[in-house]
């Protein structure tokens, strides 16, 4: 079903999506917030620029954006898949607790802030390009992957990645010699086992965005995890 979103308010648009049957395609989206938030089992293609908090609290289904998205994509999402064929703004996957977000291009600041995991719920964020500062800030679980494709002169991730990280894992397609990490994380080259895991993720990425798996895998990868030998007891106050 095709819905023309031009000049439709976000709440009316969400009502139309909720009532629609089958695959949904949105046209002329321009800044409507909260698209598909809290929904499940919807398959939505978005043309235009979705507003902030796209797929917030998403609980299943698939959202495919044919361009850029704004801030807070997948805020607190619990399940489902969000695929962005462009760049995303700040705080993507904020407090995400399940499902996956794939981004073809670059991500803004604070991607995966406060991401968490529980038992079989392991959220995944994959960034094809580069990520801004504070990647995985306070990360508590789940997996964040950054490929750094087409980064040119830029660093794969900007300042302060993994600040406050205390769970989960970040995977960066780089030897990370030019990146400064906080003391509270461990930085190691990927093991053979981990490279297998990365390959599976990369295959999915290539499937969505038509990239070459060999180019992606032909690179060193670095794994960042919290360093349990250096906990946070004195990060803020002495106690």
């Amino acid at each position: 079903m095709i819905i023309n979103a031009e000049n439709i308010k976000y709440d009316d648009l969400n009502t139309a999506i909720r009532n629609a049957k089958g695959n949904i395609e949105l046209l002329n989206v321009c800044g409507q917030r909260f698209i598909a938030s809290g929904m499940q089992d919807k398959r939505i293609i978005i043309n235009g620029i979705p507003g902030n908090a796209l797929g917030a609290y998403l609980n299943g289904g698939k959202i495919n954006v044919k361009g850029n998205a704004q801030d807070a994509v997948g805020d607190t999402m619990n399940a489902g898949e969000i695929i962005i064929h462009g760049n995303i703004g700040d705080a993507a996957g904020y407090a995400m607790r399940g499902g996956s977000i794939f981004v073809k291009g670059n991500a803004g600041y604070r991607t995966g802030i406060h991401m968490k995991a529980y038992k079989e719920k392991v959220p995944l964020i994959v960034i094809g390009g580069t990520a801004g500062s504070f990647l995985g800030e306070y990360q508590a679980g789940g997996v964040i992957v950054v490929f750094g494709l087409n980064k040119k002169y830029k660093k794969i991730v900007s300042n302060f990645p993994g600040t406050g990280m205390h769970g989960g894992k970040m995977i960066l397609r780089s030897n990370c010699k030019d990146i400064i990490f906080p003391k509270q994380v461990s930085v190691n080259p990927a093991t053979t086992e981990e490279l297998e895991e990365i390959k599976k993720i990369a295959e999915k990425y290539c499937d969505f965005f038509d990239e070459d798996i060999n180019i992606i895998m032909n690179s060193p990868f670095t794994i960042i995890t919290p360093n349990s030998n250096n906990p946070y007891k004195q990060l803020y106050v002495t106690n």
Binding site: C30, G31, N52, Q70, N87, D90, G108, Y109, S133
Partner: protein
């Protein structure tokens, strides 16, 4: 009615701007449109615009836009102005009666120039005298508020949603090479006309999304230099800081950005470019009280250009795009697409990274 400062206001807000690098004039319709998709970032308690290049017939005169609470205040202010300025024209700013905008004050504009004899007697340069006059009227004439004071530019602001404020002031009838706009979301204040953005002094105008936590430290410092923060809204102090750093201290815009959104010491320490490192150390050491902390994304307007800047932690969003001679800046990409559906080279500047756009020399 209580003014701001008597009540504290944290705010959300939306900003947008467009500028033509070749100085081509645009009506206000485009910038009003930009605010539409960001409607929910404002709550109807403040909207405003700044426009550059709108008064070519009076470009050598300072254009004072003033709110008055009553006719007596206007008379008193005019008498004060006449003592120090030649007033070549004074008129009501044309507005459109619309149901969305109510309780408007008396809104006038004056094209004025300081009397040579006054300047000679006070031994002040023209801009400094005009700036002091604005501060004096705003702090000493109760009920009068100068909300715009630059040459060949003007700000227009009101209580209401920005789209409605734009229609109220008939901005479709003005032609500017550069526009900035603001939609306000104060959450616990009555909101009043003077408290809407942009905040201006001379030709500097600032629209701001965010809430700065260093306000009092900044205010205490800047008030030592003759500025008065009458409104106690955070944005006002940003305008004065930029006026102080750029006009009075002679810093470049880039250096001023490095003062107010200074990188962390650890980031400075890790810089490999020695000149850049020393420069940042110097600026942070000389102007520690002008570091602005807390979330902000701002657009500074001035004659011949714009500067966009995020706080160093980038706690607010900002997107920049281009198309031909035009550059677009907004809190959301949707706003840029509304102004120019085919905008190119969209990017989000990093925290503390100024984006400075200038109109070609001689084209404004």
């Amino acid at each position: 009615m209580k003014k701001e400062g008597q009540i504290r206001i944290p705010s959300g807000c939306a900003i947008a701007a467009v500028i033509s690098r070749s100085g081509k004039l645009m009506s206000g319709e485009r910038i009003i449109k930009a605010m539409e998709p960001m409607h929910d970032r404002s709550n109807g308690l403040g909207g405003g615009f700044a426009a550059y290049g709108i008064y070519p017939d009076y470009k050598d005169f300072y254009a004072f836009h003033i709110f008055f609470d009553c006719r007596d205040t206007r008379k008193k202010t005019e008498a004060f102005l006449k003592e120090h300025f030649e007033i070549v024209k004074g008129e009501i700013i044309p507005t459109r009666k619309i149901p969305e905008i109510t309780d408007e004050p008396i809104i006038w504009r004056y094209f004025i120039t300081p009397l040579k004899s006054v300047l000679a007697e006070l031994q002040l340069d023209e801009k400094e005298f005009v700036a002091r006059t604005v501060v004096k009227i705003n702090s000493e004439i109760s009920g009068a508020y100068v909300f715009s004071s630059g040459k060949n530019m003007g700000t227009f602001k009101a209580v209401g949603f920005p789209e409605d404020v734009g229609r109220f002031y008939k901005l479709d009838e003005y032609e500017a090479y550069s526009w900035t706009s603001h939609g306000r979301y104060p959450t616990n204040t009555p909101g009043w006309w003077g408290g809407a953005h942009p905040f201006t002094l001379l030709d500097y105008s600032v629209v701001h999304n965010g809430e700065i936590s260093s306000y009092d430290a900044n205010r205490r410092f800047i008030e030592m230099f003759g500025y008065k923060c009458n409104l106690q809204t955070d944005t006002e102090v940003i305008t004065y800081i930029l006026d102080y750093l750029v006009r009075r201290q002679g810093l470049t815009l880039g250096e001023a950005a490095s003062v107010i959104a200074a990188p962390f010491w650890s980031t400075i320490q890790n810089k490999t470019d020695i000149y850049d490192k020393e420069k940042h150390k110097y600026l942070r050491t000389i102007f520690p009280s002008l570091l602005i902390t807390g979330p902000f994304s701002i657009v500074l307007g001035f004659n011949g250009g714009l500067m966009a800047l995020n706080d160093r932690l980038k706690l607010r969003s900002m997107v920049v795009g281009e198309k031909d001679d035009k550059v677009f800046i907004a809190s959301e990409e949707a706003a840029i697409r509304k102004m120019e559906p085919y905008a190119e080279n969209l990017w989000s500047p990093a925290g503390g990274e100024p984006v400075i756009i200038r109109v070609e020399e001689g084209k404004y």
